[in-house]
Amino acid sequence: MDKLLFGDNQFFGVNHMSEEKARSQAMRFQDIKTVIEVLDNAYDEGIKTFMCTTHERIALVCDHMRANPERYADYKFYPCMPYAHKYANAMTDHGLLGAIKNFLPEEGFIDSAMRGGMSLAKKDIEGITTLLIDAEMKMFAGLQTPVIFLQNVVVDFLLGLGFNEAFRIFANHVKARYGAEPGFITMNMPKLLDVLEELGIENPIVCANINKAGFRMSGGFEAYEASLKDKKFRAIAMSVFASGAIPPEEAIEWICEQPNIESIVFGASSRGNIRSTRELVDRYWQKGHAKSVA
């Protein structure tokens, strides 16, 4: 994985600090061209991985990348599924089962019908889960998706229920069908790592809030520090600026000093911000990694 990955919250009106800012960003990125322009800026700064939700508008970005294979030959997507609001809204309407049925392919190959139908009848979630994954992955056909993530709302919901088998099903399917590494996004990193270890999912890719302020690091700051030091996993740090609560340089210097951080995912809307983040990471990454290894 690259040390810097580009995130997509800014494109979809997600801002943990201000609803006004979120709305103005949503307006700014109304036209998919403006999204692609920012992705191009990031690409030209050497950030060639887009870690994105399977939001329906991402399909338009995918179309653009497919249409320009020369420009984006080495471009990678890290899809994060599912886009949870879609399911949450459907669940209020149709209940859990109805929502799932709603997103299964309506018509398809005998394989889908068998996997879905048998799975529902046998109360076996494997068939359903793999179908839902395939439905979410459709938009990325023909593009590189070397890591595929399960979104934090789903990971943490399942983690709370103790529905651990779902993680194994996700990991197996993503490897077998897409030749990809499974990734897990969570707000409860220490607890998730314990469960993945129990399941025998080795050296997992886990993306979590890791920041100097301890913002949304459930289980506690010390538990995160201990996990980073002692557990065998590949960490991707998100929310390193704690939604703007930590000044950029301080945030980057700190994260680069932490052991076991393989990548940082960040969002930005301007070339200037993208560049300054890249420059900060260039400055502190080697220094920090030397220190954390020593």
């Binding site: 943990h16 201000s18 859990l96 109360k123 919901f157 983690l159 709370g160 409860n188 607890k191 939604s243």
Partner: protein
């Protein structure tokens, strides 16, 4: 360990199930839902004990508390049965559709000495808690007016019939969405002595409301207006906002941040300054032990568990406080049914112009 059961596995029930199951001081002793399918899947993959019959669960499972997240019209009977069994009860909002029943259940919970809480999670949001603190400090002087708003994309087309599409079953924007800002108004200003101008309007729904407007009148000349619409797709998810005008300043708060303007006549609280002040969620939110979908959902259940374990006497979101909101909801329904208080063909009083003062003496003659 506190033994808890979750009843009703809709969106809120499943969310509570996940959060409470991860709590270090809780054993999830049972789950109960009328439809067997989700139960069977849960039992198969997580081993949790399941029931399709609530009374059977009360008889057979050894419990200290229940979390009730069934359709609103079922709350009353279930809460009563659980209290009679000596259990602590967390119930989803709105508490009860029948205001008499709300009061009875609040009294019964007190009599039984049971911890009783309703899921008005906004009282566990850092920014809204800060509003409460500032009002108690009198930071913006005498409050004259509050505007309470909530918008989001729930009903964007006409839907098939479920309990959620019928007001008589507890469905609709008033019970589901408006209950939250109304509950915040109860928290900030107390119980209104009257309501007026209530509008419960349908946008898409056939048997209930999709938008809610109205005025609430409080003692001392304070008043509040509510503007709620759950058929607004321009919002990504539910967004609740409170704006408060006082003699010494103004407060604007939503889930993410609080903006406070303080005049030079204000009693300026520690950490605040004259003019504009901004504080946001990273600063105002306490970390939770386990996070699923927002700190407030975890915090309210953790608080419920703590109240049981530590026998805490304070009781945020008690049945009696939720009964106030049930009552305001009922008042707004009654008011909306009356229609406008003044109509176009009402004979309007003629203003009596007083002929006194400097202008009238200048222009008379």
């Amino acid at each position: 360990m506190i033994r808890i059961a979750v009843v009703g596995l809709g969106k809120m029930g499943l969310s509570h199930h996940s959060i409470i199951n991860a709590h270090p001081n809780v054993t999830l002793a049972a789950v109960c839902d009328a439809t067997g399918y989700v139960l069977d899947v849960l039992n198969k993959y997580t081993g949790v004990r399941t029931f399709t019959d609530f009374d059977e669960m009360l008889r057979e499972a050894e419990l200290d508390a229940v979390i009730i997240a069934t359709p609103s019209s079922m709350h009353g009977a279930m809460v009563r049965a659980a209290l009679d069994k000596g259990l602590h009860v967390f119930c989803e909002k709105p508490f009860s559709l029948d205001t008499k029943e709300s009061d009875e259940l609040a009294a019964l919970a007190l009599e039984k000495g049971a911890v009783n809480q309703v899921g008005y999670h906004y009282r566990f949001v850092g920014a809204f808690q800060e509003v409460k603190r500032l009002l108690e400090l009198g930071a913006i002087g005498e409050v004259s007016h509050v505007l309470a708003e909530a918008y989001g994309p729930v009903v964007m087309r006409t839907k098939g019939s479920t309990w959620r599409t019928q007001r008589t079953a507890g469905g609709g924007c008033l019970y589901d969405y408006a209950a939250h800002p109304l509950n915040l108004l109860n928290w900030y200003l107390g119980m209104p002595h009257g309501v007026g101008g209530s509008v419960l309007n349908s946008v898409f729904s056939k048997e209930t409301d999709d938008e809610v407007f109205g005025t609430l009148y409080f003692d001392g000349g304070k008043n509040a207006q509510i503007s709620v619409n759950w058929s607004d797709e321009s919002y990504r998810k539910m967004s609740t906002k409170i704006s408060i005008w006082g003699t010494a300043g103004r407060i604007i708060a939503d889930r993410q941040e609080i903006q406070v303007y303080l005049r030079d006549t204000a009693k300026i609280p520690d950490g605040y300054q004259l003019g504009w002040n901004l504080r946001n969620t990273t600063e105002l939110t306490d970390e939770v032990g386990f996070y699923v979908r927002g700190e407030e959902y975890s915090a309210q259940l953790d608080y419920f568990v703590k109240c049981i374990a530590e026998k805490r006497p304070d009781n945020v979101n008690s049945f009696s406080s939720a009964a106030e909101t049930d009552k305001v909801i009922a008042m707004m329904i009654a008011d909306a049914e009356k229609g406008p208080s003044v109509s176009n063909d009402t004979v309007l009083p003629t203003p009596s112009i007083k002929k006194s003062g400097i202008f009238s003496s200048l222009f008379s003659k």
